[in-house]
Amino acid sequence: MGHQFVLLISASIFCVGATGFLIRKNPLIMFMSVELMLNSVNFLLIGYSSFQKSMDGQIFALMVMTVAAAEVVVGLAIILTIFRTRHDMDVDHINTLKG
């Protein structure tokens, strides 16, 4: 029961997150999709940690959470910096690196 369920749910959430990242134009929502993907991985880790009867999975999930927290903070600061002076939140418009 457990293995397939964990895998299926995790895969679903991951793909939903990936879709959201590709589809949306608002950078904040794209960031949230990234969080979704990270969460799905966390769930996978925890699930397998219980099947393997080991704490390594949970510790890894802890690390993932730490990194996710740090990343969110820095990423939001960057988004703030970029989009504070504009009034449109469209990621496609920051393309000065084009070419």
């Binding site: 029961m1 293995h3 397939q4 369920f5 895998l7 299926l8 749910i9 895969a11 679903s12 959430i13 793909c15 939903v16 990936a18 879709t19 959201g20 590709l22 589809i23 949306r24 134009k25 608002n26 904040l28 929502i29 960031f31 949230m32 999709s33 979704l36 969460n39 966390n42 925890i46 699930g47 940690s49 219980s50 393997q52 009867k53 080991s54 704490m55 390594d56 949970q58 510790i59 999930a61 802890l62 690390m63 959470m65 730490t66 990194v67 996710a68 927290a69 740090a70 990343e71 969110v72 903070v73 820095v74 939001l76 600061a77 960057i78 703030l80 910096t81 989009f83 504070r84 939140m89």
Partner: protein
């Protein structure tokens, strides 16, 4: 007829329901037009995930999820949304969207396929449910592992957090000062 285990049945049902709710909430995150609603859906998603963690015997992690993720990170998100906002965004279908969805669907399919693979060889670590309870709970078990076998990773993670903090301050200072100057 009474051979089934009520506890297990309940447990399985609850797990399934919570999992499905998590998936639906994530769908809600990506499909809403207003950012605030998306953030709210994400918070809901995280709470479902915390419940799932509980169901899989990871109590400490569930608590950390609620406190750190749903508590701190999402509040930060909400603040930024309040600051920058973003209008309601209307999704118009386009070729790029379809192609992207197609690819992700492929990925989903492949991952589902991988689920048909049987269970991997269990490593059979030392911590099953009884042992964890004997040690003194999930938190203590994690602590015992973290500070003995994974101490390097722990230290590196703390260094990472320090760097992130410093980086934020620098970023905010850079973006703050020129604006001030411009206002003069």
């Amino acid at each position: 007829m009474f051979e089934f285990d009520l506890f297990e049945l309940t447990r399985a049902t609850v797990t399934t329901l919570v999992g499905l709710t998590a998936v639906l909430a994530s769908l809600g995150v990506i499909l809403c037009s207003s950012p605030i609603y998306c953030a709210l859906y994400l918070i809901g998603h995280m709470i479902c995930l915390a419940l799932l963690f509980l169901l899989y015997n990871a109590e400490f992690i569930a608590a950390v999820q609620i406190i750190v993720y749903a508590g701190a990170v999402m509040i930060l998100f909400l603040f930024i949304i309040a600051l920058l906002g973003g209008k309601k965004e209307i999704q118009e279908p386009s070729t790029e969207r379809s192609i992207a969805i197609a690819f992700v669907a492929t990925m989903l399919g492949e991952l589902f396929l991988s689920a048909t693979v049987g269970p991997t060889r269990p490593i059979e670590g030392a911590f099953d449910v009884q042992t964890v309870a004997e040690v003194g709970g999930s938190a203590k078990a994690i602590g015992l592992e973290l500070f003995s076998r994974h101490v390097v990773a722990f230290e590196l993670a703390s260094a990472l957090l320090l760097v992130a903090a410093v980086g934020i301050i620098c970023l905010s200072k850079f973006s703050y000062v020129p604006v001030r100057r411009r206002m003069k």
